[in-house]
């Protein structure tokens, strides 16, 4: 039986073979297996050199300097370090945070935990296209706001927020630090960390053909404003300038470094290749009728398409396509019952439409045939389910 068409690249990507080969060289006795913190011998030096090369690769890919890269286990840890790190360091001067209802759970859950600890959090509502207007951020800022956390590219609908304008607003307010979850934007749209005016940015390797289990938090060293400070959350060796203790996994960061370098080099050509494929996909799905595109199409990355289908139930839709198509649904399995996507509900979709959505994530291997196959699979499933429901 042939494998399903993989259109879930927004969830994760396969490791690029070049990345995998570079990682493998760090694992065995013949390779750079040493502890990068072991400065007393050549094995450690070799690993440390690779770690610093990777740090430079990641930094160069997003317009940062190497000293601003703090390795983490992924974007979730980076988000936690940013949010709790700022909250705890600046807690004496303010206890208010601004974020958006459409953020990833890796931002929302830390914010909710801080609320339980007495912090106040303002959750901004997006417009119908999923965009947060910078003026909303300005209006939400208070004298004691110490953190604004707004993602760059939304993981469900792909819309790109106007981070530069939001950063300007935060800078004018003075005390509010800006954290940006960029897990979905790296490799999909240009990032210029130095000029955006962002204080903290979370990155992930496995969304850009790197390995799972590694990411980074970019911590601005200043430039346009006073450098941001963080309270560490993990102790035990002083690695990563004391912000993230623990032996750095050489193979993981080497993989991330190469993946980011490759993604940056291919960014423009991939965007130009994938954008027409996404439109082909959308046109094919729209022809079914009762297909609603989620998210502002004018302000989105070219790799992602989210569509709700009228007249079908979400769990059945996913079950009907899953043998031939790997996509994500607009609902989360919190138990046997599914929960409608909070992102789509924030855009104003009702529960049924939020649940009956599919997220298509296109990637480097996606071709016209994949797109046409996906349209055929979804068309068959939607038509059948609509007939079954008398819609």
């Amino acid at each position: 039986m042939s494998r399903p068409v993989y259109l879930d690249h927004a969830a994760t990507t396969p490791v690029d073979p070049r990345v995998a080969a570079a990682m493998a060289k760090c694992l065995t006795a013949e390779g750079a297996f040493g502890n990068p913190a072991s400065a007393s011998h050549a094995f450690g030096d070799a690993a440390a050199a690779l770690v610093e090369t990777a740090r430079a690769q990641v930094a160069a890919s997003v317009g940062a300097v190497p000293q601003e890269v703090v390795w983490t286990s992924g974007a979730t840890e980076a988000n936690n370090l940013a949010i709790f790190g700022v909250a705890e360091y600046y807690g004496e001067s303010g206890r208010h945070i601004v974020t958006a209802r459409t953020e990833h759970k890796a931002v929302l859950d830390p914010c909710r935990e801080l609320e339980r600890r007495g912090w106040r959090v303002t959750y901004l509502a997006p417009d119908g296209g999923g965009l947060i207007q910078p003026e909303q951020v300005a209006a939400a800022l208070q004298a004691d706001t110490v953190l604004v956390s707004i993602m760059h590219v939304n993981n469900e609908i792909g819309v790109i927020q106007d981070i530069a304008r939001i950063a300007g607003i935060c800078a004018r307010q003075g005390s509010a630090r800006l954290h940006v979850d960029a897990a979905q934007s790296a490799g999909k749209c240009p990032i210029d960390f130095a000029n955006l005016g962002v204080d903290l940015m979370s990155l992930s390797a496995h969304k850009v053909y790197g390995p799972k289990g590694v990411g980074a938090l970019l911590v601005s060293r200043g430039g346009m404003r006073e450098s941001v400070q963080l309270r560490a959350r993990q102790f035990g060796g002083g690695q990563e300038r004391g912000l993230r203790a623990g032996t750095v996994a050489t193979h993981q960061v080497v993989g991330m470094g190469m993946a980011f370098e490759l993604a940056r080099a291919a960014l423009q050509s991939e965007a130009e290749r994938v954008a027409p494929l996404r439109e082909r996909l959308w046109q094919g799905l729209a022809a079914l009728g009762g297909a609603l595109r989620n998210g502002d199409a004018q302000h989105s990355v070219p790799h992602l398409l989210n569509v709700s289908f009228e007249g079908v139930e979400g769990e059945s839709l996913l079950a009907a396509v899953r043998g031939r198509l790997a996509v994500s649904t607009g609902s989360a399995c919190t138990s046997a019952l599914r929960e409608a996507s909070y992102v789509l509900r924030a855009l104003g979709r009702d529960d049924v439409l939020s649940e009956s959505s599919l997220r298509f994530g296109l990637g480097r291997t996606t071709c016209e045939r994949d797109v046409d196959d996906a349209v055929a699979v979804v068309a068959q499933a939607v038509s059948r389910l609509r007939r079954l429901s008398g819609a």
Binding site: A319, S335, L337, D350, D351, R387, G390
Partner: protein, 120 residues
């Protein structure tokens, strides 16, 4: 979500899907699409015996599969205010998670609405 074999079989093949028209046809429905589950049964009855059954359903694979099974097994039985198999047995046969047992009650309600239609 994982489904057992019988659920997958009836979800994918949906025997007895559709509607019945004409004299002697009873129709009953329950649930609400806006709340995620809706089921309709059509029964053709002669001398108190179900001759033919069809269903329509909007809902999860368990809802569709159980409704299909009920419609397939109804013909030949007496028209009575009970499903061809109890909700408890259907729940076991289709390995319906406890959180979704309410969907089976919607199927039962649709059946009962059909029977009430016949009694009137």
């Amino acid at each position: 979500m994982n489904y057992n074999e019988v659920t997958l079989e009836y979800f994918e093949n949906t025997p007895a899907a559709g509607v019945l028209l004409g004299p002697g046809t009873l129709r009953g429905a329950a649930g609400d699409r806006a709340h995620g589950a809706w089921v309709q049964f059509d029964l053709r009855v002669d001398a108190g015996i179900v001759q033919a059954a069809r269903f329509l359903a909007f809902g999860c694979p368990h809802t569709i599969a159980v409704a299909a099974w009920v419609a397939e097994h109804a013909p030949g039985g007496e028209l009575r205010p009970a499903l061809p198999e109890s909700v408890a047995h259907l729940s076991e046969r289709f390995a319906v998670p406890v959180e979704k047992r309410g969907r089976l009650l919607i199927i039962e309600d649709a059946w009962l609405a059909c029977v009430r239609c016949g009694n009137h």
